[in-house]
Amino acid sequence: MAFDYDKYLRPGKLPHIWCPGCGHGIVLKGLLRAIDACELEKNRTAIVSGIGCASRLPGYVDFNTLHTAHGRAAAFATGIKMAQPDMNVLVVGGDGDGVAIGGNHFIHACRRNIDMTYVLMNNFIYGMTGGQFSPCTPTGDKASTTPYGNPDPTFDISKLAIGAGATFVARTTAYHATQIDKLIAEGIRHKGMAIIEVLDDCPTTYGRRNKFRSVVDMMKRFKELAVPVAKAATMSKEELDGKIVTGILHREERPEYCEQYAEVIKRAQNL
């Protein structure tokens, strides 16, 4: 039976702002299937975003939704979760929002291991402002502010999240639509900070500047480069060069922040 997305979409808020061929809609659908699979209650769920194309997602969905300032989503979400630890808190956003202007909040949310699920749509570009390079734009690629090729090295968001202390880190791509919801659902069920990086396509501002002739070409590239994490374990570093390792990259159990603070409250009250 077909999945009923309508029960989670706000009436009258579509069409969305995303361009034809943009992968954000694929991620939105994956997110809703994951929320459904986890049976999250609408009233007790908050979806928080920053600024950018991906950050417009909360406006379309029927939860407590908070479209904050550029980069600040994880910090607002931390306030919600601390004040209401029983609420389900999800963060969505893009690469520039999450790891450039929001980089400090991103790493500290990972470090605290606060129980939230952060779906980061990495399309390698600042799309909403017209295609400036982000910390995730591949070195050498063209953007409106790197007309001679990008001189900057790139962030590996998943590695950054693992290094900063996130206890669940997964990666997939917009091509792997059926994996998106499974990984987000795993992240929601995980107690602690879950980062799900979804490599996404921006045909309008990234693809057309970087010799992708169509959206299909961009999707094909994700398909060709993806290597499941189990297979990657059997490959050499040289073989993995330029590949996209997909699946659950990291999972560990570590005390969750709100639970730790509940202990603080107990200690304070037993004085």
Binding site: N43, F63, A75, K81, A83
Partner: protein, 377 residues
């Protein structure tokens, strides 16, 4: 029954005032000279089941406060000039999204890192116009430790009543000064909570102007699901670029303060009835002004003091009236001329106007004020 008394530092009085008001969330970042507010709340909030979090930076601290406030918590942050500069981004967010919260600014010298351990009143204009765009502002400027306690309570009341950020302006002197204060009993000071939506979740609009200039705010996590954005929005909370709707919303957000000045403004007048010179001063410097007035009265000079306790909105009407009564107004302030600009604007040349500015990390003394009075009058 004897009053409960305590010897408290201004910053401590501020923290206890917040607890009295029902504050249940503090998000902060360490900065001199405000840190004691955070230190007291780190200790006291968990005792009440409240939450304290030290965030990774000033912006995040402000963000956490707004997130918590949206769930219904009375939320506080405290900082000082450079930290407030960083928070301005999200103070603007609190203005447009109409999220109640209280921000304490224990003022120090500047610009930039300035003089972290020196007193200052140089954020008078930052408190009004620090964030970009048109917006209303409420700021209170208490003078004594007792008043820091009660004005912090009132700041929460104003934030909840008008659904907006309210700033408490202290300075390094009254923030760190210790005084005996009488701790009010529960119920002694008025505590106001935000208005709950009087309609069903299906009918609820988070910015519904049909409820007046302050629309009721529901809580995240309740059955009232709603959307919040920093974009200009319509009554339903969703972004709009429709000129008529944007204009109406912006004007309403400014009107909610302007139309309620009589309920927000609070001033103290000291010996102004027959005064020919009035000193307009706030916070710590009003203490020097009071001393100067007392001494000058002993010498037979008709001098008084007008003290805005609510600094913003500025007490335009009363100062304009006083300007019609006196020969001169003197504005001593620990900056090089900020509040005097507002006084100049409202008196429209009706009397002489003189300023005393000081930015060397020392307070303006009563003698400096007395000398100025004698010089001009």
């Amino acid at each position: 029954m004897a009053k409960k008394v305590a010897l408290l530092q201004g910053n401590e009085a501020c923290a206890y005032g917040a607890l009295y008001a029902g504050c249940s969330f503090f998000g902060g970042y360490p900065i001199t000279p405000s840190t004691e507010v955070a230190e007291v709340l780190a200790k006291e909030l968990p005792k009440t089941g409240g939450k304290f979090i030290q965030m990774e930076d000033e912006i995040a601290a402000m963000a956490s406060v707004l997130g918590a406030a949206l769930t219904g918590a009375k939320a506080l942050t405290a900082s000082s000039g450079p930290g407030i500069s960083l928070k301005q981004e999200l103070i603007g967010y609190a203005c447009i999204a109409e999220i109640p919260c209280v921000i304490v600014n224990v003022m120090r010298g500047g610009p930039s890192t300035g003089m972290p351990t020196g007193p200052s009143q140089s954020d008078i204009m930052q408190a009004r116009w620090g964030t970009h765009g048109d917006h209303a502002a409420i700021a209170v400027a208490p003078a004594s430790c007792q008043e820091i306690f009660s004005e912090t309570v009132r700041a929460f009341n104003l934030a909840e009543t008008y659904r907006m950020p309210v700033q408490v302006l202290l300075d390094e002197i009254n923030g760190h000064m210790r005084e005996r204060i009488e701790l009010p009993e529960p119920g002694e000071l008025e505590i106001l909570d935000r208005q709950a939506p009087p309609v069903s979740p299906e009918q609820y609009l988070p910015f519904d102007p049909s409820f007046g200039d302050v629309p009721p705010l529901a809580a995240f996590g309740s059955e009232y699901r709603f959307h919040v954005t920093g974009l200009n929005k319509a009554a339903d909370g969703f972004p709009t670029t429709k000129a008529r709707l944007v204009d109406a919303e912006e004007r309403r957000q400014i009107r909610k303060v302007e139309a309620n000045r009589d309920k927000i403004e609070k001033n103290e007048e000291y010996m102004v009835d027959d005064a020919e010179v009035v000193i307009v001063a706030i916070g710590t410097i009003s203490r020097s002004a009071r001393h100067a007035v007392t001494e000058l009265r002993k010498q037979g000079r008709k001098v008084g003091m007008f003290r805005p306790i609510t600094l913003w909105p500025f007490p335009e009407q009363r100062i304009a009236e006083l300007a019609g009564q006196v020969k001169a107004i003197i504005v001593p302030e620990m900056n090089l001329g900020q509040m005097i600009l507002e006084v100049e604007r409202v008196i429209k040349g009706a009397c002489d106007l003189h300023g005393i500015g000081r930015v060397d990390g020392e307070p303006i003394s009563p003698f400096q004020i007395m000398d100025k009075v004698k010089e001009v009058y």
